[in-house]
Symmetry: C2
Subunit: 334 residues, 2 copies
């Protein structure tokens, strides 16, 4: 036993130890939320449980867009021009694919392809996605613990609503990228959810977190697939009092992507009130933007405590203050 340890437990801990935070995460919005949290919490106190429902197998590669968006963002290497993939990309492989008339609607930069090559090879060798994800995050010196919600196969499937395609079910990326989410949706299904078990550290990361943050990701296709994995929703329900959601909807619109449109098409109100209804079973608090201050009472009526603040993280100074609100929605503790 070292001299320090003989002084008794906790003697060297700071007066206010940093809380442990677990983020329920999709892609872009979650990556920004985690980056904001890292302005006020040490990285080794942060865990992200990430969506894998938008993973795909293409060209023989296992591609995990949400995991990679989080990793690349936290590494400071996300491609600022595209919002996905890596900085400084070249596109030679896709040029070759195009020469052959191959599938080119899902853009893969050459640097990014290296990530998928590595992941695919490791999984072919028998490694679990959880381990490969940690290896990739470590290589980018991402300090947080990044956990795919499951090592099992989970795929978000979208059934189209209109025209010749009405009733046709396609994969999430076919909906999101190939059709640029510019089609009406009838329903969403998480293929494999009944057989998908949480990754080895997932449920403990919910149980043990001082604070759970539901990131401002798309509720229908980024957060819901995480909840669909066996036991995750129940664990989040049990931890509801420690959980804060951040609304991805501001003034009735999504900051990015089809969240508002999808909510409406799936029969939900595309507003912070609809978000409140969606998350009330698993979160005690909903952070909404100042633009929605007039809806705070309606949010409260859904059984979730509204907290109004600035939430648009692309605006200067907003990210860190949003992170502080998320960690202590009822104000700083004495």
């Amino acid at each position: 036993m070292s001299e320090d340890q003989t002084r008794g437990p906790g003697a060297n801990a700071p007066a206010h130890p940093a809380p442990s935070v677990t983020v329920i995460a999709g892609g872009v919005g979650a990556a920004r939320m985690i980056a904001a949290l890292l302005q006020v919490v040490p990285a080794d106190r942060v865990t992200a449980i990430a969506n894998v429902g938008d993973d795909l197998e293409l060209h023989g590669l296992h591609i995990s867009p949400d995991l990679d968006t989080i990793t690349y963002t936290l590494a400071g290497e996300i491609n600022p021009e595209t919002g996905w993939g890596l900085r400084g990309e070249s596109w030679q492989a896709m040029e070759s694919v195009r020469r052959y008339g191959g599938i080119d609607w899902f853009g893969l930069g050459d640097r990014d392809i290296g990530t998928h090559l590595y992941r695919t090879q490791r999984m072919a060798e028998g490694a679990q996605l959880t381990n490969v994800t940690a290896e990739i995050a470590t290589a980018w010196t991402v300090g947080i613990r990044l956990l795919p919600v499951t090592d099992d196969r989970l795929r978000t499937m979208v059934t189209l609503a209109e025209g010749d395609d009405a009733g046709r079910e396609i994969s999430f990326q076919e909906y999101f990228v190939q059709r640029r989410h510019d089609v009406a949706v009838r329903s969403v299904r998480f293929e494999g959810a009944d057989k998908a078990y949480p990754g080895p550290e997932v449920l403990a990361a919910v149980e043990n977190a001082d604070r759970i943050v539901i990131a401002p990701s798309n509720p229908a296709v980024s957060i819901d697939p995480v909840l669909a994995v066996r036991g995750v929703r129940q664990h989040l329900e049990a931890a509801r009092h420690r959980s804060v959601a951040v609304s991805p909807i501001v003034a009735g619109a999504a900051l990015k992507g089809p969240a508002a449109r999808l909510m409406e098409e799936l029969g939900h109100e595309p507003s912070v009130v609809g978000v409140a209804r969606w998350y009330a079973p698993i979160a005690a608090t909903l952070v909404i933007d100042e633009a929605d201050a007039d809806l705070a009472e309606s949010v409260a009526a859904e059984g979730i405590q509204p907290v109004v603040t600035r939430t648009i993280m692309s605006q200067p100074g907003v990210a860190a203050s949003l992170a502080r609100v998320v960690l202590e929605p009822n104000g700083p503790q004495p």
Copy 2:
């Protein structure tokens, strides 16, 4: 029926129609031999039956090095610096793989990766290697018909002979690339050969060829795997009188790669005489280099007709004259 056709069969054919040529092919040496033949025969008269024993699955990709070397060479796009892969390559994907500590001993340029992405995706969709190979060759406007010897899985496996690795069996690319063929070999085996059937056009391409050319490839690991596919050796034996082999050994050494060393390690004489013994059952003629003129009688004693000429195709003017000799080893017909 068109007017031309009413004139009777062959009326429009040239007096001496170009012979149909089928080349039994490995990689680099075969690609050069085919390019030489194309100086004297129209591309649509040429078929190559190519080795797939050195194919590999790596990073989830199906890689066919010999097929690609032939395609890229005939397209004029082979990388002159490496002798494999494409011109104008970048290496960003491999840089990423290296960041993760992934497998980097098998070099894959970004442009080249696009070929493997396309091939792998098409095969995942259920396409046969024969069809995918034709699609890739067409995209590069390679005029010949390029046939993988089989659509089934065939893998050249090498058993090492010395030191701690004695008795260990590794894949061909582990031998050839990872260990730079700088290890002693005890034996070679073609995994899957007993269940590998020739591709749909392979046996007919042997039966119907006016001239069969066994390219100056490595007999042990490039030509033998082609012969190991069910029925191919028997068809070549039956076509022996139409078949010419070109020696890959000149003055007791291989022009490239480990052919001489491998022949010796496998118990064969590493000379044109050893090549003669190897090919006598399937070829009536063996083209040997002027440097081996003194061995012509020993070649003849093996039951195969020697033809002496210049065979080193990297020397100016040699390729076309070698091609003419190969097509008419007994001199021009009257």
